[in-house]
């Protein structure tokens, strides 16, 4: 079974699917959606089967496929996964079908036909699988850049009112990062040429290089800046709130859920093993950015009035935790950081989806336009609460396990940074509960009063007064509870949040050996037991 080209299929299937969907005749929107759903479910199945074929205690990279690609440069179309990449593929497999389901009607009203939306979505899936599965640095770079294109069009064609601005900003930031990384990739190639006699892009060969510390620092920075923009770490973050706010919900879910994780994945896969000396040298600086980002972005999240921007800022805060876990250089914290990448995709994915469902009902992204929704849409409110609690890492939800591992694993090595970061959990409770209280609790407000008839303005005024509790609930036409389709989208994520919150060990077993191997490359694995 291990010779079966799992990864190649996982790239080819959605890519072909994208072409098929794009080629469908106009007016066959439903068929386009069905194909997209079928293909994405097939990818999920492949991801699950690939996980079963994967032996956590076996070779570092498994399920490998390699085809000669550009022989002159020593570049191969080489795929393979370790435990870290594998769990990210599982996350992609889970999220894309749900995004298809959640976007079922959203794309109908866009300026372009729905099939275009789903074609880009499938292409994006193919690129995302590629970027995690590549074990050739040049191939990784190509996927890293190619991934921008479908996302650019998803934001630019199907996004909110300021979509053009957001899309260009997204593209520009990523471009700058990509360029700097390309320079570093070429630099790495030059070093490999001088050390091995002939140039190579193969990750395993590059890992063995013994690079001069000063050169390491330069190359580290090249990769680091690209990844820090992608992840994003403060102060490289300002593109994300715009993109997150303007992207269509499905795009936003994949953007913060998966695309941004390429940044933190890159830290672990490329920065640490390839440039161990530089990683150790720069670790304190990165930790400063990480911990400052946790608090800074959390405070900013509290100050947002736009729900999608708020969720984007919470993600920036969470990326700080992930970076802390990676650059603390202990097995516990590193394992926690990788699990955090998965859990954040699930939790924030759900948060974005629910916020999107609310926005679809009320037609506004402003928190101030909502209030008392829980009474009219208890299921929606319940899903919102579960997503929020996962976001603030309440024990019993998946995020607790990862945040706890990151913090407890970082503490022995970096007590001061960890203690400051721990204060972030108070802020997390604040930004989530503030948003939840303002939208879900209290008397009806904003859009819930809009349909109430001619007296509505008067009642709205009353609702802001002290007698608000006595105001009779106003009947509303717009805010209905979750439909069956929406429930089907939300339920798997809620189940994963609680399931992985109670029993996270299967994922930890996949992740830990890969993290241990990575840290032994850095030579700073002080915490973990070697397997």
């Amino acid at each position: 079974m291990s010779d079966f080209p799992w990864l190649l299929l996982m790239i080819a299937l959605p890519a072909v699917g994208a072409a098929v969907v794009a080629a469908l005749p106009r007016g066959r929107s439903l068929l386009a959606k069905q194909v997209a759903l079928g293909v994405s479910l097939a990818v999920l199945l492949l991801a699950v089967l690939a996980t079963l074929a994967f032996d956590p205690d076996g070779d570092r990279f498994q399920l490998t496929t390699s085809v000669s690609w550009i022989p002159d440069f020593g570049a191969d179309f080489a795929l393979g996964v370790d435990g870290i990449a594998l769990v990210m593929l599982l996350l992609i497999g889970v999220l894309v079908p749900l995004v298809v389901g959640a976007s079922w009607h959203e794309a109908d009203t866009g300026p372009r036909p729905p099939r275009v939306f789903f074609a880009w979505l499938l292409l994006l899936e193919a690129m995302m699988v590629g970027v995690f599965a590549a074990v050739d640095v040049l191939l990784f770079y190509v996927f890293f850049e190619a991934m921008l294109v479908p996302m650019y069009f998803l934001i630019g064609s199907f996004g909110g009112p300021r979509r053009q601005y957001a899309a260009v900003k997204f593209f520009l930031y990523s471009l700058v990062g990509g360029l700097i990384m390309l320079a570093a990739v070429i630099g790495l190639y030059v070093v490999s040429t001088s050390q091995l006699g002939e140039g190579t892009f193969a990750f395993d060969a590059l890992r063995q290089l013994d690079i001069d510390p000063d050169v390491q620092k330069l190359l580290f920075l090249g990769f680091f800046v690209a990844f820090a923009i992608k992840a994003p770490l403060v102060p490289f973050h300002t593109w994300l709130p715009d993109s997150g706010a303007e992207a269509p919900i499905g795009g936003a879910v994949l953007l913060v859920g998966v695309l941004d994780k390429v940044g933190t994945f890159g830290f672990l896969r490329y920065c640490l093993p390839l440039f161990p000396d530089a990683s150790r040298f720069f670790a304190p600086f990165v930790l400063v950015l990480a911990v400052a980002g946790i608090l800074y972005a959390a405070l900013l999240a509290m100050g947002q009035s736009d729900m999608k921007r708020l969720v984007s800022y919470t993600s920036i805060s969470h990326f700080g935790f992930i970076a802390l876990g990676i650059f603390a250089f202990t097995t516990e914290a590193g394992t926690g950081a990788v699990l955090y990448m998965v859990n954040h995709g699930i939790a924030t994915g759900l948060l974005f989806l629910v916020v999107g469902m609310l926005i679809a009902r009320g037609g506004s992204r402003e928190i101030g336009d909502y209030g008392g929704v829980a009474r009219h849409a208890p299921k929606l409110a319940g899903a919102f609460l579960v997503a929020g609690l996962a976001s603030l890492a309440l024990p019993g939800t998946n995020s607790f396990v990862s945040e706890f591992l990151v913090l407890i694993g970082s503490f022995p090595e970096r007590p001061v940074f960890t203690v400051v970061a721990t204060a972030g959990i108070i802020l997390a409770a604040l930004y989530i509960l503030l948003m939840y209280q303002r939208t879900m609790h209290g008397p009806p407000r904003g859009v819930l009063l809009a349909d109430a008839g001619p007296e509505a303005p008067q009642e709205a005024q009353q609702a802001h007064g002290a007698t608000a509790t006595l105001t009779a609930p106003t009947r509303t036409l717009r805010v209905t509870d979750l439909s069956r389709r929406e429930l089907a989208v939300v339920a798997p994520l809620v189940a994963l949040i609680i399931g992985l919150g109670v029993y996270p060990q299967p994922l930890l077993d996949l992740i830990e050996p890969a993290v241990s191997a990575t840290l032994s490359d850095v030579g700073t694995d002080t915490g973990g037991t070697d397997r």
Partner: protein
């Protein structure tokens, strides 16, 4: 502490948590289909858990070493961290399990009546069940991580229940406040756990308590203080006490169950459970004592000034838990006294809150004691049960509070130093204040002229509500004597805290009892002079002394929090949002404009991108390649 793997019923003690958890899941997921019998299921799971807890405790009594370990599954294992989901059933956790499920069952039964007309009664029972499950996990877990999971789970349940009537802005805000202030404490608990793992490599009770002696004194003190921060958050102790009175926005059974009998005692549990740590750090113990003594007074003073019956009881809870902190802060001499007071308090305070709920039920949900009065005639059962709870709380001779509070005061005096006298004095003074505010409450509510709103016809509550009140009243009367003399708690808890040593009393217990009783009677007399003699005005007097005004504002705790944290926090947030939009983003946009054209041009310059991109790619690559060649060649 010899811990043996559990056998028989004890091996199934995980069902204690699973039963109410399953109840909550069924009620929340089942939706309206379960409306008709949801409250019955919710009550049944907790009663079943109580029966199981009794059976487990009986079996535990016959087990060697009176301690049973239940390993369930690997929760988190990565690197050197290995957290097993497991339970520890020992005398301490058994006491709490009985209290939680016992009082919990009574409150569930009461709620059937109290919430009968609420359309969301099923949701209420779901949350109550969730709370019971989380609280049981908190006390039954065998590691600090398990405790932490239950700890925050309790915080969630409390949040949901305070915000139960979430369309009221006050309820929604109170719930959020409770959660946030609890989380401040949780940070302390979390960091304590980090230190344990970093220094000892384990988080289980057995592991930590077995090896904590190898640590430096400063580290142990740090752990003790951080645990105390957590305990203060959950138990509403100074300086994190301000959330507890606001939590009265929840339905009254919630106040009885969570904010009197169980959740707020979690802090006392944490400190008692961590006795092996606190035994090694006199400094942390001294801080526990100071927190307890201070909170005892703060709560009692605030309790004297409020006109809201539930707020008075809430501040009374703050104050009584101060007594318990004072007791456990005394170390080995006080653990048992603190826990006995905790159990007795569980009975009488739950009874008092249920009684208050019954009064509110009769008075159309009013909580303003200035509009009560003369209710003893209309609500005979409520009056009788409430009255017994009242006598128990103020420490009327031979009722439960008399025994347990005296035991704490004796233990304080037995320190035989200046601080022993100070703490003992504070505790005696607190007893006088308690008698004052509770007598004031009794007089304003049940005696005097009826000052009811027009059109009210108070009526006694249905049996389903009064029956639990009667049971709790019986408990309030006898539990003290039972726990101190008949079936001594000290003997039962011996495997946890060691052999109770017969202290050489500095002051004869009889004399202590006499002094406390006299002070208590003075408090009652003062209340009679200030409140009982005169007509109670229906609106609170405005021109009052600064002391009264301070007490009415709970000694300005909210004002301090607001001006120290909330407002600066809001300013900081606003400033940062401005800075991020103008400063960081502006700088980057400006940079982009300087490098490749203005940001307004970017909006339409898509076609130019590919060329710029290619050019930049080439330029960057050439530069780095050149630099590298130079480095490697040179």
């Amino acid at each position: 502490m010899g811990t043996v793997p559990a056998e028989g019923l004890l091996a199934a003690s995980w069902l204690l948590i699973a039963l109410p958890l399953a109840g909550a899941a069924v009620l929340l997921l089942g939706g309206r289909r379960t409306d008709r019998w949801g409250h019955l299921l919710g009550t049944a799971t907790v009663v079943a858990a109580f029966v199981l807890a009794v059976a487990c405790t009986v079996q535990l009594a016959g087990t060697d070493g009176r301690s049973a370990d239940v390993e369930l599954f690997t929760f988190i294992s990565a690197g050197d961290l290995d957290v097993t989901a497991g339970l520890l059933y020992d005398p301490l956790s058994a006491v709490f399990a009985l209290l939680i499920t016992g009082v919990g069952s009574l409150i569930h039964v009461y709620s059937i009546g109290y919430m009968a007309h609420d359309p969301a009664r099923r949701r209420f029972f779901a949350y109550l069940n969730l709370f019971v499950a989380a609280m049981l996990l908190l006390v039954l877990g065998n590691s600090y991580v398990a405790l932490y999971v239950g700890w925050e789970g309790v915080g969630l349940a409390s949040y949901l229940l305070i915000a139960f009537w979430y369309t009221r802005p006050a309820a929604a805000t109170a719930a959020k406040k409770a959660f946030i202030m609890n989380r401040v404490g949780d940070v302390g608990l979390a960091i304590a756990i980090f230190i344990m793992f970093a220094q000892l490599g384990t988080t289980s009770y057995a592991g930590v308590h077995g090896t904590v002696g190898t640590l430096a004194g400063g580290t142990i003190t740090a752990i003790g203080l951080l645990l105390l921060l957590g305990a203060c958050g959950k138990s509403g102790q100074f300086p994190l006490q301000a959330w507890l009175p606001d939590a009265m926005e929840g339905p009254t059974p919630v106040s009885a169950l969570i904010h009197a009998a169980t959740m707020v005692t979690a802090g006392v549990y944490l400190i008692a459970r961590s006795a092996p740590i606190y035994d090694l750090t006199p400094t942390a113990r001294a801080v526990v004592l100071a927190v307890g003594a201070l909170t005892l007074l703060v709560g009692a003073i605030a309790g004297c000034a409020y006109d809201d019956i539930k707020k008075v009881l809430a501040y009374s809870t703050v104050s009584q838990i101060g007594y318990m902190f004072l007791a456990v802060g005394l170390g080995p001499a006080g653990y048992v006294a603190g826990l006995a007071h905790l159990l007795a308090h569980g009975f009488f305070k739950a009874g008092l809150f249920l009684g208050a709920g019954s009064v509110m039920h009769a008075m159309d949900d009013s909580v303003d004691m200035r509009r009560f009065g003369g209710l003893w005639r209309k609500l005979p059962v409520t009056f009788a049960t409430f009255g017994l709870g009242y006598l128990a709380l103020i420490g009327f001779p031979f009722l439960s509070g008399y025994f347990t509070k005296d035991a704490i005061i004796e233990a304080a005096l037995d320190r035989d130093d200046v601080w022993g006298w100070v703490l003992g004095g504070v505790a005696v003074l607190g007893a006088g204040l308690t008698a004052f505010y509770m007598t004031r409450l009794m007089l304003m509510t049940f005696f005097g002229r009826a000052r009811w709103e027009d059109g009210l016809h108070p009526h006694e509550s249905p049996t389903v509500m009064t029956a639990p009140m009667v049971v709790l009243a019986v408990g309030s009367v006898f539990s003290g004597a039972l726990l101190v003399s008949v079936v001594p708690l000290s003997g039962w808890l011996e495997p946890v805290f060691g052999e109770p040593e017969e202290a050489a009393h500095v002051v004869a217990p009889a004399l202590v009892g006499l002094v406390v009783t006299v002070v208590m009677l003075l408090g009652v007399l003062a209340a009679w002079l200030f409140v009982g003699r005169r007509e109670v005005p229906v609106t609170a007097p405005v021109r009052v002394s600064p002391v009264t005004r301070a007490a009415r504002n709970a000694l300005y705790a909210d004002a301090v929090n607001e001006s120290l944290f909330m407002r600066p926090g809001q300013w900081l947030t606003r400033a940062l949002v401005w800075f991020d939009n103008r400063g960081v983003d502006g700088a980057v946009n400006g940079l982009a404009a300087g490098l490749g054209g203005s940001s307004s041009r970017l909006g339409r310059a898509q076609t130019g991108f590919v060329r710029t991109y290619a050019l930049g790619m080439l330029g960057g690559a050439v530069m780095v390649a050149g630099a590298l060649l130079a480095v490697t060649a040179g």
